[in-house]
């Protein structure tokens, strides 16, 4: 591949416009097919039996009565998913999470499953399965779980990352550390130091579509899986490995996806559906209920974070330090590590140290949620930054501008930054009319910054030119929020044709090479890179065909605005050939014309945002309303600005829910108390204001069009921005998210009592 990914500063014709998405009509007419909208002949209904205990040994499971119920075609337990992971600890955890092997590790952990002719029979059958549990002591709180005397979730876990292997097992799976300089020396130089501890509660991505799949395993070892996922290629690998299938014989088709936000990057019930289908010899549809989604998919970490920052009188930060404890559910993760990497990424710091601890708890396995781990760290850090600015008597924005990272800054997590957007977003916020708007009684304004890495990764794309000159673009990154529209724009741009001539589809795992997950804001970044590369490969062929038609050297043919043009005076009489002309003749000039691309999209540019928020707090009830909200974020280049705005608005809205309302509430018995949308309340239309957006474009030097990922950063600043706003409104520093009415009232009360 001689693909040059560098930014070229070209003028755009299609990129940056706002056409209607190609999958739009199906979605407004109800025709789009999501996970649960697909059926196969002879299909059964699968249902999963889940542990009611937070921590229990599974002594015995008796399925005999369920098996005898008329209409039941298969009953499975962990025995039907034998361990084929061959020492791969991460895969073993995935296997154990999809069906508990020895112990149930959280309320909702799968212990058995049935496939029956209809939902009623399946539900009936679950009641007939007898499980003999030995209930064990449990722990659900991240700080309690980190204590020495806490109930042990896995006695094989000895904290990694310590200088010496500890003598005893614990719930802390790993310690990680980042930073540079000498924080002790840095704090010694400080005139002001602020130090505080924070907590955030566990939240769920809250996608409206529950996990759903249809699995069909044939006796010859071939299988099909239709599923809502953010990464069908990864699902194929995981499912094939867990079921002992050959990857190429398992075709995974990603349905339309009704939201994921990171939660559909892991397999959950899919291996179970495949195992049921294998045992029953029939296709099985398995759809989670909302209760199951809350109890048994993958929410965020709950966290406990200590932050200390020191600064000189002139506002220069001299040292910054954070200790972060993140819950992982019952399986090892790297969530605190990511938090520790992102915590101080916005700032230029000489002395910085962050330490992360991964903590096991009896809660569902933590999964990614939009810029995973970053919002909690930003909440803690940006709260302290605000407080420090106050102590210094400096404006919160000016203080941040003074310490903002720049091109050439060594980031707190290691790499040296290229051109970045933190300074420009801060300047834009400083000059934004929102910052100057008057506030009324009980209102407060807050602002905060956020960072996200953005990913690239393995990507494969096919671009096929039809005989009529229309272009089909087959991509392998799942479209989670309009990427088929942006990738069609990119193909049109590169080929020099109209957007309406391009149709993008998401190909299944048998039709295209491997693609990583659509995560890390990589969908449009990496697939656009692969699309540009594929288009350039197709253009090469188009030029060759034109050269052949004209019988001139291909070097003399250039591609401009969708046409092959013979370059040079001597070809004055050759009129340009359009893509359509060349395509129409392709049958006679060498056959179909296509461009392919397989690449690892390196160089995803880091992303920064700064948000402004106004809130009004009712001092009687503690209830808080967001009354105005502004997002300023660097997109590198906004391919389809409307969908970029949509990402900014959606992330902000999720952050608002997290900041004010959403939390997993566990009872003393270790059971989740609020596994439904009634009691786990996500923002509704009447809770929110319009969300203003400002897109900045600081080109990513590692992408031909300058594109950076845009999907995740928008959820990083809101927790902090709202906490700062609430603190400014009520005069009390809020340290516990969500800032639900009782927590705000308690904080006010504590302040009054002094």
């Amino acid at each position: 591949m001689n693909f040059d990914p560098r930014f070229s500063g070209r003028k755009f014709a299609s990129v940056g416009t706002r056409p209607i998405r190609p999958d739009g009509i199906d979605k407004v007419t109800g025709r789009a097919r999501y996970g649960a909208d697909f059926n196969m002949a002879g299909q059964l209904v699968g249902r999963i039996l889940r542990s009611p205990h937070a921590h229990a040994v599974i002594k015995k499971i008796d399925t005999s009565k369920a098996e005898k119920l008329a209409g039941v075609k298969a009953v499975i337990t962990a025995k039907d998913l034998p361990d084929l992971t061959d020492g791969d600890a991460a895969m073993y955890d995935i296997l154990d999470n999809s069906m508990a092997r020895k112990k149930a590790l959280y309320d909702g952990h799968a212990v058995a499953a049935v496939a029956a002719i209809d939902a009623r029979t399946a539900r009936e059958a679950l009641k007939l399965i007898e499980v003999d549990y030995e209930v064990l002591p449990h722990v659900t709180d991240v700080d309690e779980a980190a204590q020495h005397h806490a109930p042990l979730i896995n006695d094989q876990v000895f904290t990694e990352g310590l200088e010496e292997k500890p003598a005893k097992p614990s719930n802390i799976t790993k310690r990680t550390q980042f930073g540079h300089g000498d924080v002790h020396a840095g704090f010694a130089q400080a005139d002001f130091i602020v130090e505080r501890s924070f907590k955030t509660e566990q939240t769920h991505q809250g996608y409206i579509e529950p996990h759903a799949c249809v699995a069909s395993v044939n006796p010859d070892g071939t299988a099909d899986l239709w599923v809502c996922t953010q990464g069908h290629f990864v699902y194929r690998q995981h499912c094939a490995q867990l079921l002992g299938l050959e990857a190429s014989k398992l075709r995974v088709t990603s349905s339309e996806i009704g939201g994921g936000f990171g939660g559909k990057t892991h397999v959950w019930a899919e291996p179970v559906a495949l195992a049921l289908s294998r045992k029953a010899g029939r296709p099985v549809k398995l759809v989670m209920t909302r209760d199951e989604v809350f109890r048994a998919s993958g929410p965020t970490s709950a966290t406990s974070i200590d932050v200390k920052i020191g600064a000189k009188k002139d506002g220069t930060i001299t040292a910054a330090e954070a200790t972060l404890r993140y819950s992982c559910g019952p399986y090892a993760g790297s969530w605190a590590e990511i938090g520790a990497m992102t915590a101080f990424a916005c700032y230029k710091l000489e002395n910085v140290k962050t330490v992360g601890y991964e903590v096991l708890v009896n809660r569902p396995k933590t999964a990614a949620y939009r810029a995973p781990s970053a919002p909690m760290a930003a909440f803690a850090v940006e709260s302290v930054v605000d407080e420090l600015a106050k102590e210094l008597g400096m404006d919160a924005v000016d203080f941040r501008i003074k310490n903002a990272a720049q091109e050439g800054t060594r980031s707190s997590y290691g790499p040296v930054y290229g051109p970045i957007g933190i300074g420009p977003t801060l300047e834009a916020v400083k000059n934004h009319p929102h910052m100057k708007a008057p506030l009324k009684a009980n209102q407060g304004r807050g602002m905060a910054c956020g960072f996200w890495f953005n990913f690239g990764g393995q990507t494969c794309t096919d671009l096929n030119i039809g005989m009529d000159g229309t272009v089909s673009l087959a991509v392998g990154t799942v479209d989670v929020g309009g990427s088929r529209a942006s990738l069609s724009l990119v193909a049109a741009e590169e080929l020099g044709i109209d957007y309406s001539q391009v149709k993008a589809v998401v190909a299944d795992t048998s039709s295209l090479g491997y693609n990583d997950m659509t995560d890390g804001s990589r969908g449009t970044f990496s697939s656009s890179m692969a699309t540009i590369s594929a288009a350039r490969n197709a253009i090469k062929i188009l030029r060759e065909r034109a050269a052949q038609t004209w019988d001139i050297p291909v070097e003399d043919v250039v591609w401009e605005k969708g046409h092959a043009i013979a370059k040079g005076e001597k070809y004055g009489n050759l009129s340009p050939l359009s893509l359509k002309d060349i395509a129409a003749a392709s049958g006679k000039t060498g056959g179909p014309i296509a461009g392919h691309s397989e690449l690892v999209a390196d160089g995803a540019g880091v992303s920064f945002a700064t948000h402004i928020c106004d809130v009004e707090v009712d001092p009687e009830t503690g209830s808080t309303r967001v009354i105005r909200y502004t997002v300023v974020q660097d997109a590198g280049k906004a391919v389809h600005p409307t969908y970029v705005e949509g990402q900014y608005q959606g992330g902000a809205a999720q952050g608002i829910g997290w900041a004010l309302n959403e939390e997993y509430i566990y009872g003393k018995d270790g059971r989740l108390q609020n596994p439904g949308f009634l009691d786990y309340r996500i923002p509704v239309c009447s809770d929110l204001p319009m969300i203003d957006t400002q897109i900045l474009e600081i080109p990513n030097p590692n992408h031909p069009y300058g594109v950076r990922g845009v999907g995740e950063t928008s959820i990083v600043p809101p927790l902090a921005a709202i906490a700062n706003a609430v603190s400014n409104a009520v005069g009390v520093r809020m340290t516990h998210i969500p800032m639900s009415p009782p927590r705000i009232l308690a904080a006010l009360e504590a302040e009054r009592e002094g």
Binding site: R18, I20, R21, D23, G24, I25, K27, V28, T29, G30, R31, A32, R33, Y34, A36, D37, A119, R120, Q205, G206, Y207, I208, E209, P210, E256, I257, G258, G259, G260, F261, V287, T289, R290, V480, G481, G482, T642, Y643, E645, G646, Q647, Q649, G650, A652, A653, Q654, G676, F677, L678, I682, P683, V684, C685, S686, L688, M690, I691
Partner: protein, 158 residues
């Protein structure tokens, strides 16, 4: 269990089906009639993804029994466009990008249609409260509200 025979009207067409007495209208639409435009986001009346209109009333079809549709007129998302002519709300949702993943969209369109039928010139606040029974996790509602405002204007002009 003995099935219940139901005769009803769906999107203007006479339809007959047999369903179980405890089967919801949502299950009937999706699993018996192949009308999968209405979605199940919760099954408990909390998300609005299953919204349909029964005799001019907006309901969560997950909270209505299939048997209750007897003799009534049911409108679903599949009946919203007239042939190849999209309803103004559908058109405006597309133009404003009022959908990202789109799973909530059928429910929102049905709820918005019901809202505009009752209040053709809603204020922003009336739209926000009128659609508060529908959850969207992707958009932050901004573009949905704007699409409904725009559609209301178009429909008044029509």
């Amino acid at each position: 269990m003995a099935g219940v025979a139901v005769s009803t009207t769906i999107n203007g067409d006479a339809v007959e089906y047999l369903c179980q007495p405890d089967e919801t209208l949502l299950e009937v639409l999706r699993d018996r009639l192949g009308l999968t435009g209405a979605k199940e986001g919760c099954g408990t009346g909390d998300c609005g993804a299953c919204s349909v209109i029964v005799d001019g009333r907006l309901v969560c079809s997950c909270l209505v029994l299939g048997a209750e549709a007897e003799g009534r007129e049911v409108e679903t998302i599949e009946g919203m466009a007239h042939g190849d002519q999209l309803h103004p709300l559908q058109q405006k949702f597309l133009e404003h990008a009022a959908l990202q993943c789109g799973i909530c969209t059928p429910g929102f369109l049905i709820a918005a249609k019901d809202l505009l039928a009752k209040n053709p010139s809603p204020t922003e606040e009336e739209i926000r409260f009128g659609l508060a029974g529908n959850l969207c996790r992707c958009t932050g509602y901004d573009k949905i509200v704007r699409a409904v405002q725009d559609a209301a204007n178009v429909m008044k002009g029509a």
